[in-house]
Subunit: 356 residues, 2 copies
Amino acid sequence: MSIATNEHITVEKIKKSKLDQVDFDNLTFGKNFTDYMFECDYKDGKWQNPTIKPYGNLELSPATKVFHYGQAVFEGMKAYKDDQGEVFLFRPEDNFKRINISSKRMAIPEFPREFFFEALHTLVQLDKDWVQPGEGNSLYIRPFAMATEVGVSAAPSDEYKFMIIMAPAQAYYTGDVRVVIAEQFSRSADGGVGFAKAAGNYGAQFYPTNLAREKGFQQVIWTDAKEHKYLEEAGTMNVFFRIGDTLITAPTSDRILDGVTRKSVLKLAEHNGIKAEVRRIQVSELVEAAKNGTLKEIFGAGTAAVISPVSAFSYQETVYDIPKQEDSYAKRFKKELMDIQQNRADDPFGWRYPVA
Amino acid sequence: MSIATNEHITVEKIKKSKLDQVDFDNLTFGKNFTDYMFECDYKDGKWQNPTIKPYGNLELSPATKVFHYGQAVFEGMKAYKDDQGEVFLFRPEDNFKRINISSKRMAIPEFPREFFFEALHTLVQLDKDWVQPGEGNSLYIRPFAMATEVGVSAAPSDEYKFMIIMAPAQAYYTGDVRVVIAEQFSRSADGGVGFAKAAGNYGAQFYPTNLAREKGFQQVIWTDAKEHKYLEEAGTMNVFFRIGDTLITAPTSDRILDGVTRKSVLKLAEHNGIKAEVRRIQVSELVEAAKNGTLKEIFGAGTAAVISPVSAFSYQETVYDIPKQEDSYAKRFKKELMDIQQNRADDPFGWRYPVA
Ligand SMILES: Cc1ncc(COP(=O)(O)O)c(C=O)c1O
Ligand SMILES: Cc1ncc(COP(=O)(O)O)c(C=O)c1O
């Protein structure tokens, strides 16, 4: 395999790989990073010096704007290796578009397409041995952009850093997830930044999620900030409800992230002849369905966990258990998605993107 | 002057001051920092190693959580020097309490009172020559806390850094401010983090503020996210409206920062026999008052700018100019506040806090 040193990106080679220090059977998510990282600076009005270099620390002033004003966005995507050793991304075009949508809302200059894709190709090639084949294994890829101007005035930065770091991953969540329906706290509002993968959206969820954890629930399903009446999404997943044999998920809006997994599930549902409705869904409808036995499944959909079945939800001090489903949609979608991602099945929608 | 090396905080001395490199007559806000900074780490469940050291860069992994999840809070306060060379803070207890209120909401461990105040005392003593006396001059003090765990899983950090950096400042805003009343974008929602000085609240405002700037306005006055019907606050200032001779400002809530300047203005109003109402105020009431000539003043109140008179506001494509006021409340409050801050007047409320 020869590394294409293309005209844009400079590559600084490592001296020695860290690969042999990693126990791939006991990975904590997002803790071990590969040998290389990508770094590109925005200065004097343009993105410049795209560089792939040995993964390592940054030196930053304590007055760097990202620390103070949270002007930062990110993406989450994965590379998968098939049994022949070929490596694929999953719908990377969507992540590319979305990080620029996020950036725009956060007043961060958009990142050029060529740099993004060249960086992905070159990085994944260089770190190809970090992608493990096999069920549930992947290389988690984290592109992000952040404000790097030095200064504590509350105004947009005039310098930024765009980076890509990568961490080998096994399955993200283990076991079923119990969720709390938000009744008091909220994640985002109309006219806000909820649709963006803006850094601050995540930190803001930690405290309410901690409160849920203390009561034995792992996640919060957010509701609309106005009335807490409509179900929206979870912290890092869009959410699907199966009532009877109909799948329901909230429409995207400026409060909800337009998830790649969500839209892939909707496509697979269509393909499988499963009725899917994209519409606002009230908490009361969910509770009613749980009570009368028509609520068959709830599951989250997101890159990290792929599909996460929800086993119970709590609302107004009542816990509603969701009985295990024989013919589970969650299971079916998870299998179909992973089969496509890992090149074990046909790819009728052209989602796989060979990268190394 | 002898530096108290108290039992908690370690002080590492500089070799040579940067003081002579600074042009105090031409300061850009928040760009020049003093000789020293304070740094304290949260690890293994406790805040430890409080250290004052030469101001300098941090070395951080690109996977540091603050870059990805915006788990960060800050404060803004000022030190003032009087003509006798004594240095004062202004109501620092309020900033201390508030950073811990912010931290709690952002799932950041609260910072100990002793470290906070010892750090302030020692830092300001060491950097005393950086505080310039004279009208409008101050030393801007920026305490902040941020997530420093290395890892890209979306969960609270288990390590943090608390820092204090300081920058000499002249007046923050120059001239009058023209504002846009928010009709579409929003800053925060009920159940959200608007009441906290959370980093992400600021980055989220940059884009809508840029749009306002393009139309010739410097700031946005945010309205409630539900209906855009009630006036809330500006990006870094609470806002007061004077209709007739009554001062009106929005009540604090989980959407609005409980500003130190705001509550000081309310106290001064009371002291001056000026009628002040803390109540929800509708945009329509403001527009009506502008039309019938009873709107006499709008001004922002915040540490950075102290008091910022607003000269015009825009709403639904109409610009309402606010005529200059002979007997301006804004002017009066600014003078009274600054006289107290800089020890030129009595301090009937005990707001001054001698520090060096
Ligand atoms: C808030 C939020 N919702 C949903 C998702 C799922 O999106 P995707 O399927 O593109 O990973 C994510 C994670 O990326 C997220 O952060
Ligand atoms: C959102 C917001 N509102 C109001 C204020 C004013 O608060 P204070 O008077 O305490 O500086 C600030 C600045 O600190 C702020 O960031």
